[in-house]
Amino acid sequence: MENKSILVVGGGISGITAAVEAAEVGCQVFLVEKNAYLGGKVTQINEYFPKMCPPNCGLEINFQRIKKNPKITVLTLAEVENISGAAGNFDVNIKLNPRYVQDQCTACQECVEVCTTERANDFNFGVDNTKAIYLPHPFAFPMKYVVDIDAFKGNEAAELAAACKHDLIDLEMEATTMKVNVGAIIWATGWSSYDIKNLSNYGGGRFENAISNIMMERLAAITGPTGGKILRPSDDGEPQNIAFVQCAGSRDEHHQKACSSVCCMATLKQVNYIRKQYPDAKITIYFMDIRAMGKHEDYYQQVLEKNVKLIKGKPSEIKEDATSKNLLVLSEDQFTQEIATLEYDLLVLATGMEPATAADNIPVEFKYDVDGFAINGVTTPGIYAAGCTRKPGDVASSVQDATAAVLKAIQSTTGRGGEHE
């Protein structure tokens, strides 16, 4: 018998979309996410362009769809270990890592008040700390605490376990393996921000005030380390002269060869974040082409009216002033044909998307392009890469792509005959 269930790997916007869209057609879905929460990268984004609306709003609808749909099994802290079989009949081993807190957790927070151990907050890229028992972020779904077992020293952990009045903290919890049999697999593990440490001519991530665009999202977000106030990392000062460097590590033979398609709009959006907080700040954008596709052109035109200086050029070198921690950017300006070193107090490197499959491949034979994006339809029928696993894209493109992947997955599980009236 053909198996109509679908495994979705990756619980970001693409994976969530694939899961709910498939379940709402009637498929049984297993949604596997390696983090302790769903939402992936979009949970770390402050606002979506061009509407400047919060990602948590769209996620809330999707979480409601998940909550109401018994056909979806959500597995967090989960990883696919291996896949065997073929389209219509895949056997998959899923490793379920321990949360150290049982599912009945009420998120009452009493344990957090007792816990004295802290850990670097990976949700905010380690800029601030959380307690060692923590909610990954305020909107975390599922809303259950999780323990960072490695953060504890001595018998701190044991003391913490006693803090739960329902005895739900279980530090002895071990990873388990779950086996599922599914008809098709959608791989949507998304992207990582291209690591600025790879950009040695830009300071290689050594300069505190040269941040990535995704860090800017955290600085602007109310759930971020500064409570939404954009401050420069070195001294928590209010930046007054900010530059964005587009295509940092993108469209570059030595780094990501492709364009990531979202960084232009992301920067224009971040200009708005800054303008809102610092109406008089100087803002400069170093760019190659501004790729505000389609109706996003309107947004670009609106941003241009906000006193933004555009420099056409890709900086060749960035240095840091040791005292002020300001950044010195050497670049040609093709508009003026001048080469100049200009000083900024905060620099945003608009880095692109590196597919997560570059580090964690799909554990079957699969083909990838020069930047590591997965190519569908070449090997292993029944497995479909979707969203930023397949190509870089914004939220709308990822939703589109994930929805399309569901149909391909359904086709591969139902056969090709006319079974509906």
């Binding site: 009420t106 389609g294 190509k391 939703v399 149909l407």
Partner: protein, 744 residues
């Protein structure tokens, strides 16, 4: 048969630390609960078993969980679809946001009183709730009808057919293929995104023609689309008249190039050797690219990007595919005419994402790229042109003489943009009151919907169909009709293929949901639907006008005709109805009205104000919950009722609440306007308009209209919640108690 209600109060998570649970139990008793039990860990297995035991042994059939928000532990309190379960949120919205009551003080026990009222309201609500039964439409079809046989339409048809669904493809031209018929080559459709693709129309069409699930009508026009999801009757004129019954429709009617008069500033129509993208494509297809003026071979070709696009006077937007179309043409020119020089004048090369590889390919083919606007174009002779442009990259001017051919990279206009803006017919309700703003519906003569609000999809900007284009790009304002391809948004061919595949899935989902009697997005799976008591309907038509989804038509007696399968279940019709004759089995004007009225209203001299909050469940309620999760503190005078959408606000609730003695009313909903966030597009806006209508009445009654307000809150505004609620309470205090209080 009256319900046997069990109330289960959780005392954990700090609830019993801040209030006297006895007060809550009294509220349950006073409101007729058959059973009321407490547990310090209600969501634990012991608590759930306690409830299950009552269901099994004590005959309880209706459950009120007075504990945490319904947004958490959603899967714990599930006792089967035959049991009504209501959550009374006394944790996030009471215990965690108010100060602890002093023990044994039954005068100043504000937190307990709030929790008691939350329980009272929940019991009142469930008393009025009925179990939902799915709407079973008759002769439901699962066929998908696709309008337009270009790349998007062909793809949608094939993909739906391959999934096992019957499809009907309607194409206005005699042949399928749309623009594919006119193209020499396509831009890359897949990795490595460097090679040109053959349009392969014949093979694509053949695959469809041979597919057993596909019916094709060519030279066909849709005269009328009657009905609703699951039962659209599409009247097609194709020589004779055919009626196809379909469950869902995919609109893939595409886009057309911008009109020639929008290109005259670039010499089009003046110089023979200035042609468009598409004209070059036609020449290439015929195997010979020559100068139109004398049919001589071309040696120097200049492309002008954004011809008429990114231009406030012409097409303000970018068409998203013209850059890569020019790259494609530059590449095939270099193959067909290896000696020819190709120049591309551009603003930005928008070879977005993986098309960067394609840009590289065009560079490798020897194309010269010049960033700058054309400043002049002159005929140097009968056969060549001289161009002058800014050269931003090298500085100064770029002059180009002896140009044989200028190719304009023209933008696309969606087929839905052509036609007069024909709004729903204006009715006689024009009595000077502020009316709901009408949707922009362009009579583009494509779907010819038999919908009272207009014949096509409501548009948002530039003629593209309105949708939540970031999170839910496929959902148009007409349920079961999914726009895809370049009619939905400017896009390239590869994107159109993906987009159409996704649209096919959405259409399949719609027919399956409709067959099961369930709602589509965003209340997917909801089995409730609005019912009208026509006996009391006065035919005021407000419901038919205000429904954001055009769900309500008119029957032959001009009564409103509900099309439940078009409905998204927001309740806007219910809110619009002055006679209060529209209701859902589990959501009605009466139900919310009773919830408002059933709470204990303190006397004026008790100095315990009461503020009614009607909060949208989509963003405002989560924001209130988040305030609780962050343990922010605000006044205990507020009484929150969650609504499906502020659009379901019925003004009688305002009258009820004011008459009852509430000191103020706050309506919390989503942002509206151009960048609206309202999940039902217009609900929050309609609520505000309705409210503006009562302000005057309130003033006339001597009730300050400032007592009733709306505020826009999004899910991330939770830090602001205490300020919003406390500022309002303070202002109400200045106004003094509601003068109606002691008459209630």
């Amino acid at each position: 048969m009256s319900k046997k209600i069990g109330v289960y109060i959780c005392t954990g998570c700090g609830i019993e630390d801040v209030m006297d649970i006895d007060v809550l139990e009294e509220a349950a008793d006073d409101n007729g609960a058959k059973v009321c039990q407490t547990n310090s860990f209600l969501c634990g297995s012991e608590g759930v078993e306690m409830i299950q035991k009552d269901l099994d042994e004590a005959g309880i059939d209706t459950v009120v969980i007075a504990a945490c928000s319904g947004r958490v532990n959603h899967d714990v309190f599930n006792f089967g679809s035959d049991k009504i379960v209501e959550r009374a949120n006394i944790r996030e919205q009471v215990a965690w946001v108010h100060e602890a009551d002093e023990p044994d003080d039954d005068e100043e026990n504000h937190t307990a009183l709030h929790a008691a009222d939350v329980i009272t309201m929940a019991i009142t609500k469930v008393k009025d709730m009925k179990l939902v039964e799915p709407y079973q439409a008759e002769n439901v079809s699962k066929t998908i009808l696709i309008v337009g046989g270009g790349m998007a339409g062909l793809t949608a048809t094939l993909e739906a057919a391959k999934a096992g669904y019957q499809t009907v493809l309607v194409e206005k031209e005699a042949n399928l293929g749309g623009w594919l018929n006119k193209l020499h080559k396509l831009t890359p459709l897949g990795a490595p995104y460097t090679g040109l693709v053959d349009p392969d129309v014949d093979a694509r069409v053949k695959e469809l023609e041979e597919h057993p699930n596909v019916t094709i009508h060519t030279a066909a026009k849709i005269k009328k689309t009657i009905g609703a999801p699951g039962m659209f009757d599409v009247v097609i004129a194709a020589g004779n008249e055919i009626i196809e019954r379909a469950g869902a429709v995919i609109l893939a009617s595409g886009a057309t190039p911008v009109a020639a008069e929008k290109l005259s500033h670039l010499g089009y129509g003046q110089h023979k050797n200035v042609i468009t993208h598409l004209e070059l494509e036609a020449m290439a297809k015929n195997g010979k690219i020559t100068r139109p003026s004398d049919r001589q071979e071309v040696k120097k070709i200049a492309f002008i990007q954004c011809a008429g696009s990114r231009d406030q006077e012409r097409l303000p937007y970018c068409s998203a595919s013209c850059c890569i179309d020019s790259l494609k043409q530059a590449i095939y020119l270099s193959e067909l005419h290896p000696e020819a020089m190709v120049y591309i004048f551009y603003k930005d090369i928008r070879a977005s994402g993986v098309y960067e590889h394609f840009y590289k390919e065009a560079q490798a083919a020897g194309t010269v790229f010049i960033k700058g606007d054309i400043t002049s174009m002159n005929e140097a002779s009968d056969t060549t042109l001289t161009l002058e442009a800014e050269d931003i990259v090298l500085g100064g001017k770029a002059g180009l003489d002896e140009v044989d051919l200028v190719v304009l990279a023209t933008g696309m206009v969606p087929t839905t943009a052509y036609g007069t803006v024909a709004n729903a017919e204006a009715d006689d309700a024009s009595d000077g009151e502020e009316e709901a703003p009408q949707d922009a519906i362009v009579a583009s003569d494509i779907l010819n919907l038999d919908y009272r609000q207009g014949s096509e999809l409501p548009t948002l900007k530039y003629g593209f169909p309105d949708s939540h284009f970031i999170c839910f790009p496929y959902e148009t304002r007409r349920t079961g009709i999914y726009a895809t391809g370049s009619v939905r948004a400017p896009m390239d061919m590869a994107k159109a293929v993906t987009d159409a595949t996704g649209a096919a899935l959405k259409a399949i989902q719609c027919v399956e949901a409709t067959a099961a009697g369930a709602a589509c997005h965003p209340r997917s799976g909801d089995l409730s639907y609005p019912e009208i008591n026509l006996k009391r309907c006065t035919q005021c038509k407000r419901c038919t006008e205000e429904c954001p989804f055009g769900a309500i038509n008119e029957d032959e007696k001009t009564n409103p005709l509900m099309n439940p399968t078009r409905c998204r279940r927001c309740g806007t019709c219910m809110g619009a109805c002055p006679e209060r004759v529209i209701s859902f089995k589990n959501y009605s004007v009466t139900m919310i009205g009773k919830m408002i009225k059933e709470i204990e209203m303190p006397e004026e001299d008790e100095e315990k104000p009461r503020i009614l909050i009607l909060a949208c469940e989509n963003d405002a309620v989560p924001a209130l919950d988040m305030a609780g999760i962050n343990r922010l503190k605000y006044n205990p005078w507020v009484r929150v009722i969650s609504v499906r959408c502020l659009g379901s606000l019925n003004l009688v609730w305002i009258a009820d609440a004011m008459g009852m003695g509430y000191d103020g009313i706050l309506l919390i909903g989503c942002k509206h306007g151009e960048d609206y966030q309202c999940h039902f597009m217009k609900g929050s806006e309609l609520a505000e308009i309705r409210l503006s209508k009562v302000s005057e009445t309130l003033d006339r009654l001597g009730l300050e209209s400032e007592r009733v307000r709306t505020v826009e809150v999004n899910i991330m505004d939770y830090m602001e919640i205490p300020k919003i609620l406390d500022d309002f309470a303070e202002e109400l205090e200045e106004l003094g108690p509601n003068p109606m209080k002691d008459f209630a």
